[in-house]
Amino acid sequence: MVKAHSLLYAIYVCLIVSLLCGALLYIANMYNQLNIYYTTHEELYIQNQSLVNYALANPNKKTIEIEEEQTVGSSYELKPYGLLTVLTAKSFVTNDTVTSVHFAAASTNDKLCVFLTNLDRSLSYSGDVKLIGDKKLPSDFIKPIYIDNKPNKLENTGATSVSANSLPDISESLKKSFTQLNGLKVPIKEVPQNNGIYYNSFLRPTIEINLEDPILSVSLKGNIIIRSSDSIVVKSSANLNDIILSDPKIIFEDNFKGTVQAFATKKINVGINVELGYPSSLCINNTTLEKSSIIIKSNSKIYGAIVLYGNTTTDISKNSVDIEKDIILACDIYCTGELTLRSNVYGTVYTNKFVHKTASSGYDNCLADLEINPSKRPAHFVSMPLLSNNDINYAAIKKVL
């Protein structure tokens, strides 16, 4: 006969132990789940960055191609966005995906300082001029011109070679970017809004907004193209980030700040104290016989590229880029017309003709009191792909998502 006395105690002990074990199992399970969540996410983010590196070196593929089986799946695609390329990279495991979007551009190791087409006069200088880097000029001698009895000083490093009688060809992607500027036509009211900022993600298709009123004073961010019937006036109160503007005439009012790619056919005016952050670009494509111009007023900052092209060598005087004093130009300049330069350029300059104007007269192909120094580009600066080259190595410019 078994008496249930100490058996009862045994069952109590069992109950307590099982409760403790249950709690332990529960906590351990939580701990494991959390750790698995963190490690898979960490792994996904690392693999995603690694995938971006892979994609930049292999822009023609769609995924990482290796024989062994991978735990983390991957896919990516590159598509044009104005002058830039948008790289969308996805890394995924069974039920988790990490997506990143970067602006990228074909990286060039362009250390050229100045390219002046071999059309008529050779290059001359006046005042304190610094030309750092290799040069392609009509003749390898840069002669001094004495204006207003100022002393002349030229700091010239790098090799000089004789230039061709036409500028190097502009890249196909830049030519295409003028024709490919289109997206889903959406009225501005239907664009998703967050804290007063209209935003369209780079994961979604590009949208195109047609302005009824040429004055633009709203905040816009992301994958958006803005058009108008004739001209766009960007107010200083507008807040534009990674936006494309496309119109015959584009005017940036004084004190505007933003990151914008502007594509015009007739005119781009940049007011006083305007800051166009990296990567911005000002592009004009003028294939007509009419005049076109890019005018940049003083105290502005431009990080990216300034491009004017499309005209033939007979219409050089009808197309002009006019850059005033005290402007920070961390950009490359490509101009098939006349270039009036009064500020230092930290980048490469390609032009058919330099113009220097004083109060009394004008001098062709003359540089006065300025520095052109591509080696002073910021370390992270990736030049916009202006010229055609076969380099397929891309570099990431900016993470946009």
């Binding site: 006969m1 008496k3 058996l7 045994a10 074990c21 750790n35």
Partner: protein, 112 residues
């Protein structure tokens, strides 16, 4: 004496009862120890995650400065192989310490 007898009315448990009770408790403890052992493995220790993350750290340091930092990993514990593929470098990292080795990791960095 009468009173004492009244207080000492507890009966001794039978031997069988004690044996059954002890066996129930021992089975219970056995299961408890099994669970304990299954949960506190080296793979779930904080030290494991700490060392495991060191292999991830290699990715970020390699991205920043490949050449100057590679010497830091020049010990017996690390085995880092790189394979150049055009403008790209595939890096495979193996790490072990006194107790165990950690899962291998591989990733791509640009070859500048």
């Amino acid at each position: 004496m009468q009173q004492l007898r009244r207080f000492y009315s507890l009966q001794a448990n039978s031997l069988l009862e004690s044996v059954v009770a002890l066996s129930i408790i021992s089975v219970c403890l056995y299961i408890a120890i099994l669970i304990y052992a299954a949960i506190f493995t080296p793979k779930t220790s904080a030290r494991f995650y700490n060392s495991f993350n060191k292999t991830s750290e290699v990715f970020f340091t390699m991205q920043l400065a490949q050449d100057s930092l590679i010497e830091e990993y020049d010990t017996d514990n690390w085995e880092i192989t790189d394979e150049t593929q055009g403008g790209l470098k595939k890096i495979t990292v193996n790490y072990k310490d006194i107790l165990q080795s950690y899962p291998q990791k591989s990733f791509y960095i640009s070859n500048e």
